[in-house]
């Protein structure tokens, strides 16, 4: 017997495109739905409504074989380096797993590919016999990246890949991912709450809030000319490691609301410093400012 206690709408009516070869950043704070969105795109969670269309085919309509093929061409890098690696498998087995699942390489050939990728991510070939717990956080994340890359995927989702790492280690992982993206021309969806990191890797960014998209723009433009009040507040909240930069801090009132009972109209209106009466009643529609920049806000026409 099932009883619906509450409807938590993690993502609400979100539509966007990811272009081949681009590096798209998905930014937002807790509760904005970015993680859920990432899982939906890879069909790890089934969306309640709507479709994910890949190569002109809806993911829902794929049969088993086609789905497996999709999984071969896509991969995900997780946030938690510790728990995303099977603790009982050796590093070699973990990285080689995609080949085993898809039967694309066996024996010596498989081992060769594994050691190849181990070296590409900056680890040593003899590490294949070690277990995950013998490595540091940064190294574990490299293993995760090798695993995600070994089948030369076309599409990679990186879900907060550096959030759990120390500052000095983050830089090397970010550099690594940038190199791979250029080298192998992969389409990346980079999910993060840290907009500074996203700036380093992505060429286009989507800003989300409470299950909705608020603004989409190409990278320099979003930072130079943010349109949505939330984007402005978000950018102004990020501390800059330079004591001489005097910032006009926009301090938002209130807390990040929960997705359980979202505000009416524009979901940001209770905290918006530029709100108008219409904002609490009508949800803003998408306004395309130019071909690279669109925003969901009543302030614009």
């Amino acid at each position: 017997m099932n009883r619906t206690v509450a409807r938590v709408s993690a993502i609400d009516d979100v539509s966007f495109k990811i272009y081949e070869g681009e590096s798209l950043g998905l930014v937002g704070e807790s509760g904005c739905g970015k993680t859920t969105l990432g899982r939906c795109i890879l069909h790890l969670i089934e969306p309640t409504d709507g479709e994910i269309i890949y190569n002109n085919k809806s993911l829902k309509s794929l049969n088993k074989k086609e789905m497996k093929d999709f999984r071969r061409q896509s991969s995900i890098i997780f946030q938690d380096p510790f728990l995303s690696l099977h603790p009982r498998m050796t590093v070699g087995e973990i990285i080689g797993e995609p080949h085993v699942i898809h039967g694309t390489a066996r024996g010596k050939e498989k081992e060769k590919k594994i050691t190849e990728w181990l070296q590409k991510v900056g680890l040593n070939p003899y590490h294949i016999y070690r277990y995950p717990h013998q490595f540091s956080g940064g190294q574990k994340q490299r293993i995760g990246i090798a695993r995600a890359m070994i089948l030369n995927p076309k599409f990679v989702i990186a879900d907060e890949p550096v959030a759990a790492l120390d500052v000095s280690v983050r830089a090397s992982i970010i550099n690594l991912m940038k190199t791979f993206q250029k080298q192998y021309n992969i389409t990346i969806l980079f999910i993060s709450h840290d907009i500074a990191v996203v700036r380093q890797i992505c060429n286009r960014i989507i800003v989300m809030y409470l299950g909705k998209i608020f603004e989409t723009a190409k990278v320099p433009e979003l930072f130079d000319e943010p349109l949505h009040p939330y984007t402005k507040a978000l950018l102004s909240s990020v501390p800059i490691p330079d004591p001489d930069v005097k910032k006009e801090r926009i301090i938002l009132e209130g807390d990040v609301p929960t997705p359980i009972n979202p505000p009416t109209g524009c979901r940001f209106h209770p905290r918006c410093f530029e709100r108008m009466p219409i904002c609490s009643e009508v949800e803003p529609k998408k306004i395309e400012i130019n071909e690279n920049h669109s925003v969901f806000c009543h302030l614009y026409k």
């Binding site: 071969r72 991969s75 995303s84 099977h86 797993e97 995609p98 898809h102 900056g122 013998q134």
Partner: protein, 297 residues
């Protein structure tokens, strides 16, 4: 490239430090657990080499030697039918081991399979299995034993084993199911799924290996329970009278009516049962401590 720089300064761990190795080391340090293991090993040895170790034929009736107190010939004395108690204890170990191992194998197979399926797939199957588990656990097991064994005329040891096996699966199923539910959420299982692994592979390769620890622990406790249950069944007359299990030894001594003066006939089997069940419990405890996830991984 980063290759060289990264490695020159890593702390190189020489040994192949696998998870099981770490667990083994921890277990070896656990006093009570080791004691349990040693006792179990001794019991196993007795069971396997009973033919060579036992001084007498356990079934050899010797009316002239009845009720003999322990002496140099019969180290544990004889029972009311003249059989040497020591030999019966040794052969009894064989029966205890066979019974408990068989019971555990049967209940483990049923319980783990059901637990895996219901935990992993959820939904309708899960509902049915959970209800069944609750139902089995709610009914006092001895009721079932009495009913089932009374209906069946065959009073053999295998009937008893089979029924015990069928009664004991809920413990496995319940624990396995709840562990599967939490393991399902682990990122590395999600990783496997995102790579395209089939359900079967995810269950067998990703989830099941994490359950070995719990399954072994439960098995240990269940083996203790099986021995005790068999003793209990024997006592109420539902056991197999033809074999010399420790339970039947106690029953036989009890039936003779002379327990108090005849202390060796109940003491030794009683001690055997107590020590061995205790050993299984200690072994289970030791394993549980050694496998404590927080400190191992």
């Amino acid at each position: 490239m980063e290759n060289k720089k990264g490695n020159a300064h890593e702390k190189i761990i020489e040994k192949r430090v696998s998870y099981y190795y770490t667990v083994l080391k921890r277990f070896l340090k656990h006093g009570p657990g080791m004691f349990g293991l040693i006792v179990i090993m001794i019991t196993l040895l007795l069971a396997i080499f009973a033919d060579d170790i036992a001084p007498f034929d356990p079934y050899e009736l010797n009316p002239r030697n009845r009720f003999q107190a322990p002496d140099r010939v019969h180290l544990m004395g004889t029972d009311n039918l003249g059989c040497d108690i020591l030999s019966r204890i040794i052969y009894g170990a064989r029966y205890s081991m066979i019974i408990s191992i068989s019971v555990v194998i049967i209940s483990m197979t049923i319980g783990v399979t059901l637990g895996l399926i219901s935990g992993y797939y959820g939904g309708f199957v899960d509902e049915i299995v959970t209800r069944a588990t609750d139902a089995f656990m709610a009914v006092p097991s001895f009721f079932i034993y009495i009913t089932a064994l009374s209906m069946w005329d065959v009073r053999g040891i295998w009937t008893i084993t089979l029924i015990m096996g069928i009664m004991m699966w809920p413990t496995f199923a319940k624990v396995v199911r709840s562990e599967v539910l939490s393991l399902k959420q682990r990122p590395y299982v999600e990783a496997g799924k995102s790579m395209g692994a089939s359900d079967v592979r995810l269950i067998m390769r990703y989830i099941l290996p994490n359950l070995f620890g719990s399954i072994t622990i439960i098995s240990s406790f269940r083996m203790a329970a099986a021995i005790l249950t068999e003793t209990g069944l024997n006592f109420i007359g539902l056991g197999d009278p033809t074999i010399c299990s420790w339970g039947s030894m106690i029953t036989r001594a009890h039936r003779s009516g002379a327990q108090l003066t005849f202390w060796w006939a109940t003491l030794f089997p009683g001690l055997a049962i107590t020590i061995v069940t205790w050993a299984f419990n200690l072994f289970g405890d030791g394993l549980r401590d050694a496998l404590d996830i927080k400190t191992v991984t």
